[in-house]
């Protein structure tokens, strides 16, 4: 059935894969009717999909550097778009974002705008030029463009800080999902998640990660969209929710007015399990100041353009032209999920709030709610909680608590969908978190193995040795990430936002000016990266330890401080030191036109 080269057969291969996955869902649905327990369905979904990814990872094993670092530069536009979308949409996007919107409304929707708008910057400012450069990693670009090991090493430092912050959040997310789906303790589930991540990336590097990410995208997008459409149809809200939920949005505003927002006292909140919240912000009203919204969006956009695990996906396309188009496809595939997240939040809220729906619980008696099956399940998993603060026996809006991730994980069950959908959602969340973790772990270990080990420490190393070092580092970084994830220092969404701020602080201007400002030189870039990262981090620590901050910049938007310092110091230091030599200027000229040879050779 499959003849010829793998690349030429991609649509067929992934078409078969998607068909196979749909058949698997149907088999599970039949098994559920035949009496298979919910727990078994969850285990089947997660382990079946993870085994497929591991198989793809094993089939893509390689012993060549360009396959290991950039997938041989032959990933077609649309498939690279899918892989980037999976790389991009993390556990935070899949599991936590709808929850954030559910609880915080407008203020959190800045993330939707920021995490999509950033791609315009990627497409226009960076991706095509870095592709033309022909680098293996982002520090490879910095090191060659500016010259010198110090610039290269500074870039590795920023990359590691940002990506490591991010990866702990992703391993945390895989652990959370694996522990719920497989019913094992979180501390063990984290390492189960890690093992699955390493299986996908260790043998084949970027090549293996690319083809597993495409497979993971297909699973995660089916898992996200199917429940949204199904619930919308189930409650009669419309067959195409994205265009038809206006009445529900208005109805929620009406119900919010009716129930009223009551602020819980500190004493009441003390009894609520950690990490759970009640609805306290209106669903669709503009409830944040323009600056709060815009500053968060700006940080996410600049961070998007500076995060190395996204940028390196565009090193894998066959040409500059395809790199540019591939950014458009990436954003299209991301858009499919992001535009659905607010719809899911709306459907979840209306299902729980509207007393005329059979699923509505607000306004019912507390005892009645406590007797519901799904409430008991999710309460046991510490994701839901009710308490009769005012003692009137009825559940009020401020007396129902839920964890953000429950909006995605529990809504299908709340809305009365069969359990097979919940199993599917768990598999989707696992795919989202794994694909991002893979990209991140690979970005860090590639930077350390290629830029630090090969370019700085041992430039004479042979290919075989380089790839062994790369794999050893991959495993070590994975373990370090899992160990920190098990400590649960910061929530998933919080750590992800920090990662964007770190990346933006240190890398945004050195990358952009490397292409767009010929006068930028090595001392300037080093100053920009290090002073940016240091000042951003210092601001974060100051605000975290009780500092008041300035200009309304919070611990979620500290990248604005870092990036501003980075820009100023880079420009000032560049101008007071010597201009880059003629060879470097010529290099920048060459990067600016798509035709001709890449700056760095195919194998380097």
């Amino acid at each position: 059935m499959i003849k010829g080269k793998f690349i030429d057969n991609l649509p067929k291969v992934y078409g078969l894969y998607t068909g196979g996955f749909l058949v698997f869902i149907i088999i599970m649905a039949i098994a559920e009717q035949a009496g298979m327990t919910a727990k078994m369905i969850g285990i089947f979904f997660v382990s079946f999909t993870v085994l497929i990814y591991a198989l793809i990872g094993w089939l893509s094993r390689t012993l060549q550097t360009d396959a290991y670092y950039v997938a041989g530069r032959q990933v077609p536009t649309v498939f690279n778009g899918m892989a980037t979308a999976a790389d991009w949409m993390s556990g935070a996007s899949f599991v936590a974002m709808a929850g954030g919107i559910y609880f915080k409304g407008y203020g959190y929707m800045a993330l939707l705008v920021g995490w999509t708008g950033g791609y315009v910057l990627v497409a226009s400012l960076l991706a095509p030029y870095l592709r033309k450069f022909g680098c293996y990693t982002v520090p490879d670009f910095i090191g060659t463009r500016y010259g010198g090991n110090l610039a290269r090493f500074s870039a590795v430092v920023v990359l590691t800080v940002a990506s490591f912050t991010y990866v702990t959040a992703q391993i945390n997310a895989t652990g959370t999902i694996a522990s719920v789906a497989l019913d094992i303790p979180f501390e063990i589930a984290v390492y189960v998640g890690l093992a699955s991540i390493l299986m996908c990336s260790m043998l084949g590097g970027m090549r293996a990660v690319t083809w597993t990410q495409v497979a993971q995208y297909i699973v995660l997008i089916i898992a996200y969209l199917l429940p949204v459409f199904w619930i919308s149809n189930n409650i009669g809200a419309g067959f195409f929710p994205h265009f038809m939920l206006a009445d529900e949005v208005a109805r929620i505003a009406e119900l919010e007015g009716q129930f009223g927002f009551v602020k819980n006292s500190a004493a009441d909140l003390a009894s609520v399990p950690k990490g759970l919240s009640a609805i306290s912000k209106p669903h669709s009203a503009v409830n944040a100041t323009p600056w709060a919204f815009i500053s968060l969006a700006v940080c996410m956009m600049a961070g998007t353009a500076s995060l190395p695990h996204v940028m390196m996906r565009y090193f894998t396309t066959p040409s500059v032209r395809t790199a540019r188009r591939s950014v458009g496809w990436s954003l299209f595939f991301i858009f499919l999920l992001y535009s659905s997240a607010p719809m899911l939040a709306t459907l979840s809220k209306i299902s729980l709030m509207d007393p005329t729906l059979p699923t509505g619980i607000i306004g019912k008696s507390i005892a009645e709610v406590q007797a519901i099956d799904w409430y008991q399940n999710w309460n046991q998993a510490k994701l839901m909680f009710v308490s009769d603060f005012n003692g009137n026996g009825t559940l009020e809006l401020n007396e129902f608590f839920m964890k953000g991730s429950a909006v995605v994980l529990a809504t299908p069950e709340i809305a009365g969908l069969p359990y097979v959908i919940s199993g599917l959602v768990a598999a989707g969340g696992m795919a989202a978190a794994m694909s991002t973790a893979d990209g991140l772990v690979l970005a860090i270990s590639n930077a350390l193995s290629h830029d630090v080990y090969y370019k700085i420490i041992n430039p004479k190393a042979e290919t075989a040795k380089r790839l062994i070092v790369a794999r050893v580092l991959l495993v070590l970084i994975g373990f370090a990430g899992a160990t920190i994830a098990a400590l649960e220092i910061q929530g998933i969404l919080g750590s992800v936002i920090w990662a964007f701020d770190f990346a933006m602080s240190g890398l945004f201007f050195p990358l952009v000016l490397g292409v767009w400002w010929k006068r930028a030189n090595a001392p300037g870039a080093v100053a920009g990266m290090l002073l940016g990262l240091i000042s951003g981090t210092a601001y974060l620590i100051w605000v975290r330890s009780g500092g008041s901050g300035f200009l309304g910049i919070t611990q979620l938007t500290f990248g604005i401080v870092g990036a501003a310092v980075s820009l100023v110091s880079m420009v000032v230091v560049s101008l007071i030191t010597a201009a880059p030599d003629a060879a470097t200027q010529k290099m920048v000229d060459d990067v600016r036109v798509p035709s001709g040879k890449t700056i760095l050779g195919k194998q380097h």
């Binding site: 315009v120 206006a246 919204f293 040409s319």
Partner: protein, 88 residues
């Protein structure tokens, strides 16, 4: 002006146009979030600001990138800087 300088000037102008559109829909309109929300323009019945954050701005970004890519390809073609087989 050399061919390469002309190419870069056109590329830079395209960048400025792209970034201007990007700025309007990622930052500009949200300066007036509260005012827009009250507007009588309601796409698909949603309040205007709410719609932009859910779908509007996001969809505009997708279209903007494809438009930008097409224009840039035209500029590259015009100056003969499009990649050829074997370039890489």
């Amino acid at each position: 002006m050399s061919k390469q300088e002309q190419h870069w000037e056109k590329t830079r102008n395209l960048l400025f146009i792209t970034l201007a559109i990007w700025f309007v829909f990622s930052i500009g309109i949200f300066l007036f979030g509260a005012e827009m929300q009250e507007s009588s323009i309601r796409p698909f019945g949603y309040p205007l600001t709410y719609w932009f954050t859910c779908q509007g701005s996001l969809a505009i970004f997708v279209i903007l990138i494809f438009w930008f890519a097409g224009r840039q390809e035209k500029i590259d073609d015009e100056f003969g800087f499009t990649e050829r087989e074997g370039d890489q």
